[in-house]
């Protein structure tokens, strides 16, 4: 089955360990051993996650240095941002409506409290 690039990116992001790996790589390249450290995970366990991220194009592994550092790649993250940006107007309006509703509730409650006292 051929999976489109965006589906493969979203699928790779659907795991907290993989997102934590990306967060560490945002500050600079790291070896697989360095990446494994905070997770109390075996090297094969981490390698499996790295393979998913690599297949989705979210990271790449250097070929030259002996420690083969992993680094973050920008494009798929920008594609996610571009995709979700189409919905920005929608959620801004929704959250504005929610805000307006909450203000209305507060006004009603205040009025009720004044009547009671």
């Amino acid at each position: 089955m051929v999976i489109d690039a965006l589906s493969s990116t979203f699928s790779a992001l659907a795991d907290p360990t993989r997102r934590a790996i990306l967060a560490r790589l945002a500050s600079g390249e790291r070896s697989v051993t360095e990446l494994a450290q905070p997770f109390e995970m075996s090297l094969p366990g981490i390698s499996k996650h790295l393979k998913v991220l690599q297949k989705a194009g979210l990271i790449e592994q250097g070929r030259h240095a002996q420690w083969r550092p992993c680094r973050l790649k920008a494009k798929p993250l920008k594609d996610v941002a571009d995709w979700v940006d189409h919905y920005r107007q929608f959620w801004e309006e929704s959250l504005d409506r929610l805000d307006e509703y909450l203000k209305e509730v507060q006004r009603t409650e205040k009025k009720y409290a004044r009547k009671k006292s």
Copy 2:
């Protein structure tokens, strides 16, 4: 297994049909039959996708009207935008570096072309 909210959102988004359903709902609520139309998909097929989107909190289905319209929910989409926004600086710098590199290549090529002519 308990899945965190963001993983469940990303997992639901990892499918082009489900993303197309969200795109249709962005312009207003729709019945399940209306949603099924453009996909040449059976109602049970669409219902399965809707269940995944509903479980991830990306849509909700009305209870009152007889046609039980589906509508988009804002919060998980905003959560995705907030998450990816942490990487904005990273990809902007990466793409700037790429741009700089391409300009450098063009300058070198022009210089070389001038020398040859």
